[in-house]
Structures are given as structure tokens and as C-alpha cells.
Amino acid sequence: MSEDNILIHYEHYSQNMTKINFTACPECDLLLNPAEPVVGDKAHCPRCGYLLQRPRKQSIERTFALSIAGLILIFPANLMPLVGIKMLGGAKDGTLWSGVVTLFEEHLWGVAVLVFLSSILFPLLNIILSLLISGHLYFKKPNHYLAHWMRWLQHMDEWAMLEVYMLGIIVACVKLSSTSELKFGFGLYAFVALLTVAVMLASSLDKVLFWRQIGQLNK
């Protein structure tokens, strides 16, 4: 089903059910007529400039496909060594897990939990929730939990920090490069791929469209 059809359905639904044909800007609360930008356009709030909606081509299908790709990539990225070093006769491999474990062993459990959440658990949950939501929307299966999942996904969004972790890897490697020999493992390539998929996933997921669809499915 094309997105145009979805929009028509939604208008029909919104007139029958809610009888409110306005939206409001989330950052300045300006009452607006609902903008319906086409793919490639952006809708900005006229008062504060907030990006209201940026429709994507085949948002649901792409989100579905990308979350499957992410779910596959998350295993090598987590389990295989990211970077290995050789230094003064010793050699060591580092994975996402080993950092968390070492921090925990050094009794910095707060930092360990934070690193675990933001580099392992939240990215994983992000992808699982995207898969569940886009899967249900793609196959048009109503589910009582869709709204809950969508809400969790929105709250979890900013706590999944793969791109910051990537920058952390780069800085750590530059720091170590003068004193030791570095070896990039297969896990790092999987991690870069996972990061790319996660960024594409975030940009392909059109929240406005997803909420509309959820409202329509759970009617």
C-alpha cells in the first residue's frame, strides 16, 4: 500500500474518531494545520523552526529491512574482537563486552552499567523494537502493545550511543598507536556496518507516519 493511501485513510479516521484537525509544534506549542509534506520535503514549524516531519520513501519497508540487517550485524559486532594490541610482548583483544567486564572488576559498577546500557543493551532493544513495530505495520497486524513499544523506542533513542562509541574507539586507537601495535578485528567492521545501519534506521523511521499507522491499526 502506498503512503498516499495511508494518508487518505488517516484523514478519514481522524475526522471520524478525533474530530481535531490540528497539530501542535512539540517545542513551541504553536497550533498548526497538519502539514502533509511529500517525500523529499521537510515540514518545519513556522514559529520556532522545529522539524515536524520528514517523510521517507517506503518508511515502513525500509525500517523493517534495516532492523533485520541490524539484528544480524549486532552479533558479530558484540562477540568478535574490535581492536587488538601488541605491546611489550603481550597481546590482547578487546570486545564491547570486555570493557564492561573490566570496569566491573575494577569496582566501577556505575560506569560499567552505563557503558553496557548505552553500547550493548539499548542499541539491541532499539533494533528489536523497530523490527517489532515495523513488522506489525508491514503485515498489518494490530497489537495492543504497539503504542507501548513505540513510546519505549522514542525514550530509548538518545541513550543508544553507537556513534559516540565509534569516536571513543578512534580516540583510544590514536592514543595507543604511539606505544603499541594495533590490529583491527572483524568485529570492528561489523560494528561500523551496524553503526551505519543504525543511523539509516533512525533516519528512515518516520515517527509521524508510524503513529498514524498505529492509530489506524488499533482502531
Binding site: A24, S98, T102, A172, K175, W211
Partner: protein, 202 residues
Amino acid sequence: MKPKKSALNQGFIRCHDCGCLSKQTDKNSHCRLCGGRLHPRLPNSFQRTAALLLSAFCLYIPANIFPIMTVTRLGVGEPHTIVGGIIALIHSNMMPIAMLVLVASILVPLLKLLGLGLLLLNVHYRWKAHAKKWTIMYRIIAFVGRWSMLDIFMISILVSLVDMGGVAQVIAGPAATAFAAVVVLTMLAAKNFDPRLVWDNQ
């Protein structure tokens, strides 16, 4: 610019989660689309942001005083604070990386504390000027917050990689916990601040 009315002034409440508008009546305290609780503005936004910001400010001091990691080479331990780590990077001719760490772990947390503090003053004293610029500042603060985690992730990688007993070892220090708490608290403060409060004063 002629004044435009906010949705709340006209009796509509926007759902925080799905963005659906509801009429402001006593009966519907839950959103009809997603079932989330409706609040005209984020509940206790000012107080929560102020409390989180104050805690973050207090923790910012130990985060900078105590060593964030101790680098041991051939049995000799050398504790580094956040600033010390940056100076060490400059001395070993890694200017770009030093600038990156400076921005992520010193400037960003500091500007966040300052910026959110100013936003709170703005709301409290009902400053009327430049609401759009304040909103843009809030948007920048909310966006850059997560990048401060750079230092924490870097330490997590270093402690797991450089672990050769007495020969070479990196041990994370007490400032790591304090700094991580500053990042989390400022992120929560930004999340709890409702930018619509700035526009309500117009």
C-alpha cells in the same frame, strides 16, 4: 510579528509521546491514540530540571579534581585527570584528538550546565526576547549531550586493552563515575526541560 496562539491557550493538549491533540477537559487524562497520560506541559519541568542540574553541577567538581584514569608503565603509575589527559595528548603532538576530547569532555558539559541554567532563568524571570534563539540553544544542548560519553567509552576500551599486569596497565579512577553521572544527569535535565515554557512567556 503578530502574536500566534499556542495550542494550550485554545484548549488543546498535545500528547508527549504520539503528538496527537486532545481537547482539554477533565475527563480525558489519557491520549485517545496511544493511551499515554496527558499533561499540558512536562510535569514539574522547572523543578526537575533545576534539581538534576544542581546535582550535575556538584558532581562536575569531583569529576575534574580526581584522576579519571591511572596509566601504569613498567611499574610506575601516573594518574591523569580529564585536563591532564588533554595536556598529555597535546604534548605527544595529537592536537586534533586533544581538541576533540577538550570539546567533548570539558566544553560540552560546561556549556550544557551554563545553557540549561540560563534557560531556567529565562523561564523563571519571563524574559521575552529572542524566544526562537533560546529554543535553538535548547535544541543544540539536547543534541550534543550524548557526545560527552566519548571519554567514558574511551576509558572502557583502554582498560580492557591495556591490561598487561605491572608492565602496562590502565585503571579507571573515581572521576570516571562522577563524570559519567554528570553526563547522565545533564542529559536527563535536558530531557525534563520543556522548551514550550519559554514560549508560554511571550
